[in-house]
Amino acid sequence: MKADKMQSFAQDMAAEQIEKAQEIRKSDKTILQVTSLKKHYRQKNKRNVLVRSLDGVNFELKKGECLGIIGESGCGKSTLGRVLIGLEEATAGEILIDWEDINDLKKKNRKELRRKAQMVFQNPFDTFDNRIRIGDILTSTLKLHDIGKTSKTRKQIVLDSLKQVGLLPEEDFFKRYPNELSGGQLQRISILRSMLLKPEFIVADEPVSMLDVSVRAEVIHMLRRMAEQENTAVVFISHDIATTRYIADRIAVMYLGKIMEMGTANEVITSPMHPYTKALISNCGDADPRHKMEPLKVKGEPPSPMNIPEGCSFSDRCPYATDRCRSEEQTLHDFKEDGHLVRCRFALQHN
C-alpha cells in the first residue's frame, strides 16, 4: 500500500516537474537547438577514410527567425540541412526540435517530425515527379498528414494557397505538370508544399542558386513572407552572401564542418571578425562597378573534410596564422558580448 502511494506521489512529482519545465520551454521561443552536432561519412571505396562533414556544430533557432548559413562549397552546409530535418542521422550530438530529441520524435512518429521540420531543395526542376500533376502532389501531401477531411476540402486548401502565393490562375496551376512550369514557379510550389504542413522550421538549401537572377527575388520574397506569416523559422543555406544578407536575421559562417562566426546579418557582413569571413566577404563583388572591392587574399584551396588541419581548421590558409593557431583548437567565443560569436582567439586583434 505504502509503496504504491509513494510511487504515485513520485509520479505526481515527476509530472509536475515536467509540466513546469515545459512551461518554461514554451515561454522560451527557441524551437531548434543544436549541440555539438557531428556527421561523419565513410568514403564509398576508401572505407578507412573518414569524411568529417560536420564537426561539432552548435546553434539555436528562435521561432520565426531566419538563420543564414554561408561558406565555401563542401563545407558541410547541405549536410547540416539534411541532418537537421532528420533525412540523415547525426553521428554525434543532439538536435532538439521544440525541446524534443529528433531521434525520439522520429521513433515515436515520423510524420510528426516531418510536420515540424521541412526542407526546400536546391534544384526546383527535380523537386517534383514529372508524371504527377501539381495539384495531386500538393493534395497528397495534405492527405499524408491528415490535413483536411475530404478530398474536396484538401483541394480547396491547395487552391487557396496557390492563389495566395500568386500562382494565378490557380485552377490552371493545379492541373499542370511540373515540367510545364518555370524554375521560379516550381520553387515557389516547393516552398508552398513545405509550408502547407505549417512546420516549426524550414531548411532552404540554396533555394535560388539554380534560378535565373531575374526570378530569384520573387522566390526569396515569398519565402520570407510565408515564414513571417506562419512564424516559421528558416535555415537559409547559400553561398551567395549578398542574397543571404538580404533575407537572414542572423548569419553563420561555416568552414570545414564548423561554424567560424555567427551573428546578426549586418554585423557579420559589415564588420566580420574572423579572417575567413573577411576573406569570403571581401571576395564577393558587387554588381555596381562603383563599389570596387579590395579582396583579402587567402592562400591555397579549401582542404577537404577528409584531412582537416590540426588546430584551427583555417590555420593553413589564414594570413594571420601563428603557431598557436596551428596547434590549438579554437572555440566559438563571444568576444564583444553582443551575441557575435567568433572561432578565433585573435579576432579582436585584427580589427
Binding site: 565555401e72 562549397s73 518555370s182 521560379g184 535565373d212 537572377v213 531575374s214 526570378v215 530569384r216 527575388a217 520573387e218 522566390v219 526569396i220 520574397h221 553561398h239 552572401i241 549578398a242 542574397t243 544578407r245 538580404y246 546579418a265 549586418n266 557582413i269 559589415t270 576573406a279 569570403l280 571576395n283 564577393c284 563583388g285 558587387d286 554588381a287 555596381d288 562597378p289 562603383r290 563599389h291 570596387k292 572591392m293 579582396p295 587574399k297 587567402v298 584551396e301 579549401p302
Partner: protein
C-alpha cells in the same frame, strides 16, 4: 583597332521539327586588348555565340550565318585548314566544366602534349615538357600536375590547368565561358586576378562569358548584355551598369542584391519568363516582360542605337539618363 568583328551573326539549332534561333543577328566589335564581359540569363545564347564563331557546332544539327572577322578574315567561311591554324594559336577557349575538358584516361601531360603538337608538330619531348612546366607555373601550379590524371586534381586546379592549356600558344583572344562559375568565390577571385596579370603580360583580348554581373563589373571593361539570343546593350561597364539604357539591363541589375552601405535596398524580379526560342516572334523578345513595352516593341525589331562609339543598345523606348533609378 578591332580584332574580332562579328557582323550580323545568327546561329540556329536545327531539330527534326524545330529550329532554335540561339543567336539572332548579333553584331559586336571587340577591340584589341579589351576585356568584354557577356552576360545574360541562362539560355540567352552566350555559349552558342562563342561556339558559333569557333565553328565548334555540329554542322548537321546547326546552322551559322553571318560573318565573324578575325583580323579581317571571316572565320565562318574559312576553310578547315585555315581554321585549324586560327584555333588555339589565335583564339582559345576555357570551358565551364573543367572536369570534362580533359580526357579521363590520359595524363595531363599526354593530353597537353598532343595539343601542343597540333601546332608545333616537330617539337621535341624535352621542349614540350619545358613549355608545359612554364605554362603551369604561369597559373601557379607545380609541374607534378603533369603526371596526374584529371580525377586526381581538384576543381580549382583543373580550371587553372584548363586556363594554362588555353594560353599555350599565346593566343590573341581568350574566351572564358563560365570558366569560374563552379568555383567558390575566393578561388574564383584568385584565378581571375591571375588572369588579369597574365593578360597584361601577353596583351590578351579577353571575352568573359558569365551570368554573374558582379564578376563583369569587377573584371571587365566592357559589357554586352544578351537576352533570348539577341544583343540588348553593349558598352563600358561604368556606363551600362550605372545608367542602363535598355530596360532589360536595368531590371537585371536590380535583381542583384548589393552590399551598398546598409544592404537594405530591395531587389526585384522580372515578371514572366523568357520567350520560347523555338517559336517565331516579331519585335523585341523582351516585350512580354518589359514595363516600357509599346505596340511597336511587339511588332518591329529594334535596330541598333548608339549613345557613342562604344555604347549601343537595341530598344524602341530606351531609358533616358535620369530614369535609371526609377523603381518598378
Amino acid at each position: 583597332m578591332s580584332i574580332l568583328e562579328i557582323k550580323d551573326l545568327s546561329v540556329s539549332y536545327l531539330g527534326d521539327d524545330y529550329k532554335v534561333r540561339a543567336v539572332d543577328h548579333v553584331s559586336l566589335n571587340i577591340e584589341e586588348g579589351e576585356s568584354l564581359g557577356i552576360v545574360g540569363e541562362s539560355g540567352s545564347g552566350k555559349s552558342t555565340l562563342m561556339l558559333g564563331i569557333l565553328r565548334l557546332l555540329n554542322e548537321r544539327t546547326s546552322k551559322t550565318e553571318g560573318e565573324a572577322l578575325f583580323r579581317g578574315n571571316d572565320l565562318i567561311s574559312m576553310n578547315k585548314k585555315e581554321l585549324a591554324k586560327v584555333r588555339w594559336s589565335e583564339i582559345s577557349v576555357v570551358f565551364q566544366k573543367a572536369m570534362n575538358v580533359f580526357s579521363p584516361v590520359h595524363t595531363i601531360e599526354t593530353f597537353l602534349s598532343d595539343i601542343y603538337k597540333v601546332h608545333r608538330p616537330n617539337a621535341k619531348r624535352q621542349e614540350i615538357r619545358k613549355e608545359l612546366t612554364d605554362l603551369l607555373a604561369m597559373v601557379n601550379l607545380p609541374k607534378q600536375v603533369l603526371r596526374m590524371y584529371p580525377h586526381e586534381l581538384s576543381g580549382g586546379m583543373l580550371q587553372r590547368t584548363s586556363i594554362a592549356m588555353s594560353l599555350m600558344f599565346r593566343p590573341k583572344i581568350l574566351v572564358l565561358d563560365e570558366a569560374t562559375t563552379a568555383l567558390d568565390v575566393i578561388t574564383q577571385n584568385q584565378i581571375l586576378s591571375e588572369i588579369l596579370e597574365i593578360e597584361e603580360k601577353l596583351h590578351l583580348t579577353r571575352v568573359l562569358i558569365t551570368h554573374d554581373m558582379s564578376v563583369v563589373a569587377n573584371f571587365c571593361k566592357k559589357i554586352a548584355v544578351f537576352y533570348a539570343g539577341r544583343l540588348m546593350e553593349v558598352g563600358y561597364v561604368e556606363d551600362v551598369l550605372v545608367h542602363p539604357r535598355h530596360p532589360y539591363t536595368r531590371d537585371l541589375v536590380k535583381s542583384y542584391p548589393t552590399f551598398s552601405e546598409d544592404g537594405t535596398g530591395t531587389v526585384i524580379s522580372i515578371p514572366g519568363t523568357m520567350i520560347d526560342l523555338k517559336k517565331a516572334y516579331t519585335g523585341c523578345p523582351y516585350a512580354n516582360r518589359c514595363d516600357r513595352a509599346t505596340e511597336q516593341c511587339r511588332t518591329d525589331r529594334p535596330m541598333e542605337d548608339q549613345m557613342d562609339e562604344h555604347w549601343s543598345y537595341y530598344c524602341h523606348n530606351p531609358l533616358q539618363g535620369g530614369e535609371t533609378d526609377e523603381s518598378r
